[in-house]
Amino acid sequence: MIKLIDLEKSVRTGLNRAWILNQVNLEIKAGEFVTIMGPSGAGKTTLLNIIGMLESPTGGEYHFLDEPVHRLNERKRHDIHKQYMGFVFQAYHLIDDLTVYENIETPLLYRNVKGKDRKSIVADILDRFSIVAKKDLFPDQLSGGQQQLVGVARAVIHKPRLLLADEPTGNLHSKQGEEIMELFRELNEEGVTIIQVTHSEKNAEYGSRIIEIVDGNIRTDEQVRKSASVYGTK
């Protein structure tokens, strides 16, 4: 699904050039549940953003589903991003002026889903995430865990193939964090490829593969168990 070849990201600081990512080579297959770990400032989030096409690399190649992303124009990249990817953030990033229902619905609006379909899709997901009762509340009326549930619901409402999560449980206490991770496991088992960035060893255990990044380089890359795609979905 994802293939990175000699990927680089550097920024100019004064006269020098600082590498955030340097010579990253990585291949991720569909169905994997990958955890990216490493100390602060190692480049984990940058790598996630590049994979999510929110940032552009300064060098190297990025292939997504055999498309050479590094050679595509802005519009094409936007289309791929829109079609295949979903994002979950540490700080939830819900739109404050929209209700739970409207927040979840918004990605469908950007994908021109018809009104009737939209209603049933949103209703399904509210039901599945057990947040039907909260649908008319605004984000600031929810607890952190509930907000993150909405965040995940919004990220997967359009059935993305790839879910990118940047410290999804970083702002949650452990009970809430576990719920979110369980949800991720379920999604992964349904065939969604997940890449998460985390500091938590416990969260990493939910994944099938752990990549450790230090100073912009992959230090270790170990398979902890067979990924969902290998032993198949339920």
């Binding site: 929110l54 829109k82 953030f89 990033h93 739109i95 002026d97 929209l98 409207e102 609006l109 950007y110």
Partner: protein
């Protein structure tokens, strides 16, 4: 999708409703002034444009030989001659006016009578409401609705009788045959009663002979077959100069000029002896336009400022929308639509406000009549759409095109700290403060001028003076006796042209020079009653019979202009070519008409009651009404056939004062709104700055910074910008006030830095009050709260 946008916009703005309300109101009022400015311009531009044959119609004006000035009058026989003999002239028409007494047997008043022919109604589009027009019959008249209501109330005027000249031996009864619609305000031709030229009598009460080259008509119009012949026809008219100049040797004409009907109102101000109306004072149009633009600028700048500061709080939404699939184009549209929504609301507010304001505005000025009409008014609709799009762009362009370009990762990492306190918003703030100061300075300048008009030494006594117009010596004697009977009357006097009733200008010859000066024949005691001061020489001696025929007083202005190098006393002046007078004294300058007109060189002669035009009565101010009523009763008893025309001296100055008060009022409202808007802007900048620097401020406080240092830290750079705006705006305001005063008044108080000082103090106080809340908040906030937030 639109619904989603609308919900976000609605909820977002609801959270900032006070801010938004001020902005929408400000923008609405600004739009209203733009609309009024546009309507004023249009009203002025369309002066006289409602006549279908207007393109072909030209007014003949005479350029006088001795001073090369254009006069509205024209020798009477020229019309008939041009029609008969000049090729290219299809038709000719004269229009003559006279202020004369008319009566319906019960009510009597002086009105303006227009004399013309039936053709008048073929030339001009003045609609007949009922009856018919039969001006070829000299025993008929047509009247306007206004006059009909005045004399006949609600009953049908057609078929009724009005008597013209009831005070004269040649009084004449006219049958009203038709009712006309009132003339629009932007028409040069204004009528009340129209009758045949045969009913026309000159100043000496002789019937006018239109074949007499020495008789000058008030307006002569030519209808040309082809408007392009204007130049050619005016050259052909030169053929009549020799005969006119031979017949009328003391009123020699250099040439005739043709003024197109469609534009003549705009040149009428340069025309002497002009009996037709003129377009708006230019300051009325440019003043309003300038104000509209400045107000719109302030309101828009504030809008931009608000958009910037509020969009800082929407960065997250923009980032999120990008991540979940929104393209930049969609975001630009979303933000532009929000701007359009607000502008639409503001435009609605503006139009409602205009609708409310227009009748009041029309009442403020006698010479405007503006209406907000959309049907068949494509230019107005186009203007409104242009204004709407402009404000939308100003309000929304910055967030729509700039912020939508931010990268979501930058936003989420907090790299994009966007709090609106950048150079751009500081410049906006400076401009706003500047504009407010302009309005304040102008407001204070006109306030000072109002005080000046009320209290300044205008060279004569204005308290306790009233005057009544009298037609002849007998009336004067009777009314003088009546006035003297009243115990409260302190003094009475007679005069031919009273101060305030424009004295005529005549030619005076002295030292081989000829100059045009104002001519004011006064009766015994007039100078004393009016308290006109003598500067040098002596006043008239009423015992000396030669003073009535040989002595003359001049005013200071005359002496300054023409006798700089010598004593005017003892100089000989020749009036009317033959009458010689010796200058016996110089009087102090006084306002001859009102503040709009300059103080002109003036001569005063002594005259007897047979030439009097006014009886002037002096009392205590408190007794004026009582004396007026006494005189009114006496008048009705003896002279019921004539109108009782009474004036308080202040009436003559009232129009200047009203204009001044109106302008003062307009500027005060303008200043208030501009100040409110700029202070909203200042407040949002300072509080945003506080929000951004709360942590820094808290740390500094923990480290021991004094409150004054914190206040300085938060507001210094805004206050510097505000001071620059204050200084620049103040200087522009002074210049502008001076220009405006000059364009309206010939005599005014001028401008001083005092206005600037007062405006400055006001702005500074208001600015400090505005920012004090944020600063107190910064100084008293609990440090732990501020730091824990991070």
């Amino acid at each position: 999708m639109l619904q989603n946008y609308f919900k976000v916009a609605y909820r977002h703005f609801w959270k900032h409703k006070v801010h938004l309300l001020i902005n929408v109101l400000g923008l609405g009022i600004a739009l209203a002034s733009c609309v009024i400015a546009y309507l004023s311009w249009k009203f002025d531009h369309d002066f006289d444009h409602f006549h279908t044959r207007g393109e072909q119609i030209f007014r003949v004006v005479s350029i006088k030989k001795d001073n090369l000035q254009a006069f509205g009058v024209c020798p009477a026989p020229l019309a008939a001659a041009a029609k008969a003999e000049v090729s290219g002239v299809q038709d000719a028409l004269i229009l003559e006016f006279r202020n004369a007494v008319i009566s319906n047997g019960k009510d009597t008043d002086r009105e303006r009578i227009s004399f013309t022919e039936n053709a008048f109604f073929e030339w001009f589009d003045f609609p007949l409401l009922s009856g018919q027009i039969r001006l070829d019959d000299a025993a008929t008249a047509v009247i306007s609705e206004a006059l009909a209501i005045k004399y006949f109330g609600t009953s049908d005027p057609v078929g009724q009788i009005l008597t013209i000249y009831p005070d004269q031996p040649f009084q004449k009864q006219l049958l009203i045959t038709g009712l006309l619609k009132d003339t629009p305000v932007n028409s040069s031709i204004q009528y009340e009663l129209l009758t045949s030229v045969e009913n026309m009598y000159n100043r000496d009460n002789a019937q006018v002979n239109l074949k007499d080259w020495t008789y000058l008509t008030d307006a002569t119009f030519l209808m040309l077959k082809n408007p392009e012949d204007q130049e050619r026809v005016s050259r052909y008219l030169e053929a009549y100069l020799p005969v006119q100049n031979q017949m009328h040797s003391d009123w020699q004409i250099e040439k005739f000029a043709l003024q197109p009907l469609n534009t003549m109102a705009h040149h009428a101000d340069d025309l002497r002896w002009n009996a037709l109306g003129q377009s708006l004072p230019p300051s009325m149009v440019w003043g309003m336009t300038l104000m509209g633009i400045l107000l719109l600028l302030t309101a828009s700048l504030n809008f931009t400022n608000m958009s910037i500061s509020l969009s800082g709080r929407r960065l997250k939404e923009i980032g999120v929308r990008k991540v979940i699939g929104g393209s930049r184009k969609q975001l630009i549209w979303q933000l532009l639509m929000e701007g359009l929504l607000i502008s639409l609301i503001a435009l609605g507010v503006g139009l409602l406000f205009t609708d409310w304001l227009l009748p009041r505005y029309n009442q403020m000025w006698t010479f405007v009549d503006l209406h907000l009409v959309f049907t068949q008014n494509l230019p107005l609709v186009a203007f409104l759409i242009a204004v709407l799009l402009t404000t939308t762009f100003i309000a929304a362009a910055y967030p729509a095109f700039y912020i939508s370009g931010f990268n979501p990762t930058g936003i989420f990492r907090g790299k994009v700290k966007f709090a609106g306190a950048n150079l751009f918003s500081k410049i906006l703030l400076g401009a706003q403060v500047g504009i407010s100061t302009i309005a304040l300075v102008a407001g204070f300048a006109f306030t000072r001028n109002a005080e000046f008009q009320k209290n300044a030494d205008i060279g004569f006594q204005r308290e306790g003076i009233q005057a009544i117009r009298i037609p002849d010596e007998q009336t004067f004697r009777v009314m003088e006796a009546n006035a003297r009977q009243h115990p409260q009357v302190q003094a009475v006097a007679g005069v031919r042209f009273h101060i305030g009733d424009s004295a005529p200008r005549i030619e005076v010859k002295f030292k081989d020079k000829k100059q045009e000066v104002e001519f004011m024949p006064v009766g015994e005691n007039y100078l004393e009653v009016m308290d006109i001061q003598l500067l040098s020489g002596r006043s008239f001696d009423y015992q000396l019979s030669t003073d009535f025929t040989e002595s003359i007083l001049i005013n200071e202005k005359f002496a300054d202009l023409y006798f700089q190098d010598g004593d005017p006393l003892g100089q000989q002046l020749t009036l009317f070519d033959t009458l010689r007078y010796n200058v016996v004294g110089v009087v102090k300058n006084f306002i001859q008409d009102n503040f709009h007109d300059p103080i002109r060189p003036l001569v005063l002669t002594l005259t007897k009651p047979d030439r009097f035009g006014y009886l002037v009565i002096k009392t205590q101010s408190a007794d004026m009404l009582e004396v007026r009523d006494h005189l009114s009763v006496a008048w009705k008893k003896d002279f019921a056939q004539m109108p009782f025309e009474h004036y308080f001296q202040d009436d003559f100055l009232a129009s200047s004062l009203k204009t001044n008060t109106n302008i003062q009022y307009i500027f005060s409202v303008f200043a208030l709104i501009a100040l409110l808007l700029s202070m909203t802007g200042l407040n949002s900048l300072v509080s945003l700055n506080l929000l951004k620097r709360l942590k820094e401020v808290t740390i500094r406080r923990i480290l021991g910074a004094r409150p004054s240092q914190i206040a300085y830290l938060l507001s210094a750079h805004f206050l510097i910008v505000a001071f620059i705006g204050l200084a620049v705006g103040g200087l522009i305001g002074l210049k502008l006030s001076e220009m405006l005063l000059n364009s309206i008044y010939q005599v005014h108080v001028g401008v001083t830095y005092f206005s600037l000082l007062v405006a400055g103090i006001v702005v500074v106080i208001v600015a400090f009050l505005t920012i004090s809340r944020s600063i107190v908040q910064a100084i008293t906030a609990n440090p732990s709260d501020a730091l824990n937030n991070d």
